[in-house]
């Protein structure tokens, strides 16, 4: 089911969950070139509301580039991205976030010198309005909004149990353990009040216990908060656990799509991961 340039399918037609709804996010023939390298090559990809999609593929397959293209941090060279039916073309990253797409980063990128709470508060920026005037004159609306921001931040942080609350609120992010940093990144994404969260290797570097715990949380993110989620992940047990659907990328194109059981036995996938020399069929 290699995606080819120009074949435009009806929205949602080949979605494996079989609903006829319009997808929340849809890329059509998305290409990203770095010089002569086609990081993404005519990719068609969609995510439906309330769905958890895993994107897997060998290193350099274009997984993170896909995220970067969706969030407008890299320029696309061709194709289009539709979010809730409207194009994201020409939007700055901050506008994309305002439209309802949040992401985390593969190499954790927190605001290291800001506190845990501030990290989550600042990411509500695009959902809040108060400006210098309110701050200077300490207006009632400023105070109300600050209280709301704080409340929301605390609520988001309490999602992770007792790990990021209490005295942790006022600790700078750089004092956190690696796993907690990953959690805080997710909290920060949640605080932008998105419809879709893109998680870039959320359990990388975590120990098995932590990663199992986070796997459960990804499910809860969808069930309790109603986010649609795209996960890039290398750990196959996590992928198996969380995904409704798995998309396999290689060399910037989609080489397989379906539920985990189908994809994991697909000869093209095995070839992409293990190389051509290994004949499995």
């Amino acid at each position: 089911m290699t995606a080819t340039n120009g074949t435009r399918r009806a929205p949602g037609a080949d979605a494996t969950n079989g609903t006829g709804r319009r997808p929340l996010l849809e890329t059509r023939g998305l290409s990203v070139d770095f010089g002569g390298l086609h990081a993404l090559d005519g990719l068609d990809f969609e995510v439906h509301e309330g769905e958890i999609v895993s994107v897997i593929g060998p290193n350099g397959a274009g997984k993170t580039t896909l995220f970067n293209a969706i969030t407008a941090t890299v320029e696309r060279s061709a194709g289009d991205i539709l979010f809730e039916g409207t194009s994201l073309r020409g939007l700055d990253p901050n506008r994309v976030t305002a439209r309802g797409i949040a992401r985390t980063f593969q190499n954790v990128r927190l605001f290291a010198n800001m506190t845990v709470l501030e990290n989550v508060m600042v990411s509500q920026h695009c959902r809040t309005r108060q400006h210098a005037f309110g701050a200077l004159f300490y207006t009632p609306s400023f105070r109300r909004e600050e209280a709301e921001i704080r409340q929301r931040a605390e609520k988001v942080l309490s999602f992770f149990g007792s790990r990021l609350v209490g005295y942790r609120f006022d600790q700078p992010a750089f004092t956190l353990s690696y796993a907690n940093r990953r959690r805080l990144e997710i909290a920060r994404a949640m605080a932008t009040q998105p419809k879709l969260i893109l998680l870039d290797e959320p359990v990388a570097g975590m120990n098995p216990v932590e990663s199992a715990e986070l796997t459960g949380m990804i499910g809860r993110l969808r069930d309790e908060w109603g986010f649609a989620i795209v996960v890039i992940e290398h750990q196959m047990d996590v992928v198996r656990e969380v995904s409704d659907r798995v998309v396999v990328l290689d060399h910037g194109t989609k080489i397989a799509e379906g539920d985990y059981a189908d994809v994991s036995t697909d000869p093209r996938v095995i070839e992409a991961y293990l190389g051509q020399g290994t004949e499995t069929s």
Binding site: A98, A112, M114, C126, A132, A135
Partner: protein, 614 residues
Amino acid sequence: MTATLPPETGAVGGPAETPLAPSRPVMAQDWRRLVRMGAVGAVAQIFIALSNMPVRLDERVVVKPVLSLGYLTLLIVPFAAGYRVGHQIKREGMPQYAAGAHEIAGGAACGALAGGGLSLLAVLLANFDLREPLVNWSPMLAELLAFGDATWFAVVVWLLIGAAIGAVGGILRTLGPRSRRAVVTMALAVAGAAVLEPLVVDLAEGMRLEALTDRLYARRGGVNWTSALGLAAASGVLAVLGRGRIRQARNHIASLEGARRSRANFGLILLTGAALIILPLFAGKLTNELLANVGLFVLLALGLNVVVGLAGILDLGYVAFFAVGSYSAAVLTAATSPRINPEMPWLVALIVVVIITGLVGLFIGAPVIRMRGDYLAIVTLGFGEIIRLIFLSDWLSGWFGGSQGITKIPGAGIFGLTSVAGTDPRRVFYLVLAFCAIAIYVSWRLERSRLGRAWMAVREDETVAEAMGINTVNVKLLAFVVGAILGSFSGAIFSAKVGSVFPNSFLILVSIVILVVVIFGGMGSIVGVIAGSAVLIGVLGGPKQPGLLAEFSEFKLLIYGALLIWMMLARPEGLIPSVRRSRELHQEEMAQDAWLRGQVEDDDGSGAQAAPTP
């Protein structure tokens, strides 16, 4: 001089107290390290001597009649070398040795090597004439080095002095933390009394306490040696009795929570404010002038702090906004400004000045802000110069007077009540104080708002900030504009104070000095920025303003540079870092697990403090 003390003095009494191994034998020195340190000291000595600092600063007496500032600059080096060489690097699993004769001997040897630099210089001075490239290669220097005696005397005496002073540094190592604190306090008390001499004399005159200062200071400057001894003894006793009570009090305030903390802070601010309002009443012209200058730089530094410290935009052309503020205030208020002279009242003009500077901030910021890091710094540097050259240009001399500048600017009238001009520095200071209060309030409020958080996010990671929904361009522009407006306040007061503006008052040096103040004081920290201005501008002096150590003016930049390097090595977060940067710096991640198990960490306070200043 206080700043050249090695940083370890502050870190006394760290939490980990492993038992010490007995002192090493005297000859078991790390000779390589000792010789290297001594050689560095010797080179530093020669450099200082040839920078002409000793000769020029010989006039300023520190302790009458034994020590002048000139000799002090030379003596500090063997001391630092001797102290430094006794430093043991703490290594996991390696024994820590008790300090003893080993350290004293090492310090003496290292100090002698450092002093030997001057011996060498004395010999060279006597036998060669290198006056051509080295302008300070003078007989005066030779005479100073030899105490007016023969060359061989200089050779011997500097070796001995170096050894003695280096040994003192070594002895300081052998002292326990408490006595070391006492010694440091004594030294600081005498040095402080000497440095603050003009200020103290001036204040004492205002308070009619001349009798006191006559006793303390010699007639032609310097602390009397008898009163120096008394002062040292008194401060030593106080230090022993106090036993770090100040630090305890500070920790106590820092540990307060919520309402009590803010009440304590409010009390402190009130006290400081009251002192700043009352003190100038007793001070003479000199002190008020000094305070006003410091205040002007506090204003500038607070403005730059918003740009650099909060939003992380390295602006090397900040002087542009100072210049625009000064010039627009001058044009609007002075009757003598060439083309337009509306002769507005100062306060009305100020509103226009703020608008103009805000627009200039937008205008400069718009192209600059899209760049990052080094490129941004270079471009701002360029804009800083462009603004100055515009004011200097013949093309616009019809408006701004070109190199003639604008003169006869009237003082700043406040509601027709008073006029604030440079002739009355006390009023200038009060005016500056009022605007500093505004600037502090603005920085304080903005830092704790949605906008301030966005600035910090941009500073931490611009790409991520944008991905988190922050419009980085707008937010950075706003930081630029707020910084510009705060700088324009300073400019408007400056032109009214001085009474004239010239393009030459707005050299690139001003930008650099303001930036150094911000970095030295502590980026992003309001208190730090104020402390930085007080130390750098108040003591050493601004680009054109003399400080307490007016004799330093010639070597100001050298000392700025040295201070900055020392600061980056020893205390990169600045003199008084923002709470954010020092908070919980030593907090262990392990504490989390303890907390999760329901244990309250109570013995955490002692180790959690960042090393305070000596």
